[in-house]
Amino acid sequence: MKGLIVVGLVLLVMFMLMMPLSVYAIGDPEGGVSIGDCNVFTSVLEPDDQLYFVRYDVSYSPEPPEDASDTWQMAIYDTDGVTLIPGATRPLNFYQHNIISMYFTAAQVATLSLTPLSEFKVKIMGNPAVFDPITEDVNMQTVTLAASDWKELSDLVTYLLAQAQILEDDWPLITLLGDTGLLNSTGAYYFLLAIPGLSNFAPEAFEITTTTYTFTPGVFTHDYESDLADKKGERLTEGLENFGGWLGISGNWMSFLLVGVLFAVFAGATFSATKQPIIGLMMGFLVIMCSAWVGLVSLTMIFIIVISVAFFFGITFILGRFA
């Protein structure tokens, strides 16, 4: 039994040794780490949200084989420089000269107490799980936000296009801006990697972009329709209700029936006098409009009738053309 346990333990140790482990051999960047620009934009997608943007250079020579997202990150610390804002880290997409950002919704801003104009510390740093120790100017670079670093949405497009120009000037023979001065598909691809949702923040920065259409329904009170309905007065309303009750229909349907009869009478009489169907119909519609104005039939019903007639007329007219 004892021997069996020993064999089991040996097998367990051997199994653990055979398990793949992630070991990073990455060193500090030979050319150092620097931050070119760091700014915060407020109210970019909703009131009081925040977008932190950094242009950095993690200058390796040679470039390490490890993915930058495993080894380097952007982080935001509180004004004391030692307290990490909860959740405020994001892996870098690339080494060398590039850009990265972090976005906080208004709700997150409130929860994390990200007070605008605060002197937060924004860092581009090695991942603490990979680099030990983390040393300023060696494998970390920190900037302290000044009040002037906080910007409005109206500055965003001009700012980002200027950043694209800086990168384009530094990246030999790589074009990020098109002839229009806006981000071409290459620029759009890399800027969207750095700033997810940018096409919604600043669609004007792109030559070609896809944005989500936001529909905000208006508030309709039907006040005017109610005013018109009140015009027919209590006596006529009561009369229509009683007459409708006698026929087994509601007062509204009784009104509609009455207007229909009036339409037929006036349209028919006009047609008889003029022998012109168009004039007859026009007179009929005049009766309907007058009925709406005195409150006999609701405006909604009128609109439904007009749209239906226009629709059927359109179909008849179009099909008639190709008959």
């Binding site: 200058s59 690339f94 790589i174």
Partner: protein, 109 residues
């Protein structure tokens, strides 16, 4: 010295970006005709990006016609023994090219 070799030895752009552009026809088309001839294939660019700084400086110097350690040292300011080591490193990696051969990577700005 024709230009600052230490400065051009810097890698301004991540090799993954060049790789992605070279594999995406729409992005490649936007770069114009000079892109591929200057960068070479993505694999060439990656090979150069994996050189250490001395090797990359020596690589550029060799492209400019300085083909021995003494000349490279003179042109770049690099120690002669370091230049010699860098040349050996380039030879090992098969990256020493003559002046008349195509330059596989553009120099940085």
């Amino acid at each position: 010295m024709a230009y600052d070799y230490q400065k051009v030895a810097r890698l301004p752009v991540d090799t993954r970006i060049v790789d992605r552009i070279s594999r995406t026809p729409k992005m490649l088309a936007e770069q114009g005709p000079g892109f591929m001839s200057q960068y070479g294939s993505a694999s060439q660019y990656m090979a150069v990006s994996k050189l250490n700084t001395n090797e990359r400086v020596a690589f550029y110097a060799v492209q400019d016609g300085f083909d021995n350690a003494a000349d490279i040292s003179l042109a770049t300011g690099m120690d002669e023994s370091a230049a010699s080591t860098a040349l050996l490193g380039l030879a090992d990696k098969g990256l020493v090219v003559g002046q008349d051969q195509e330059i596989p990577i553009v120099k940085g700005t």
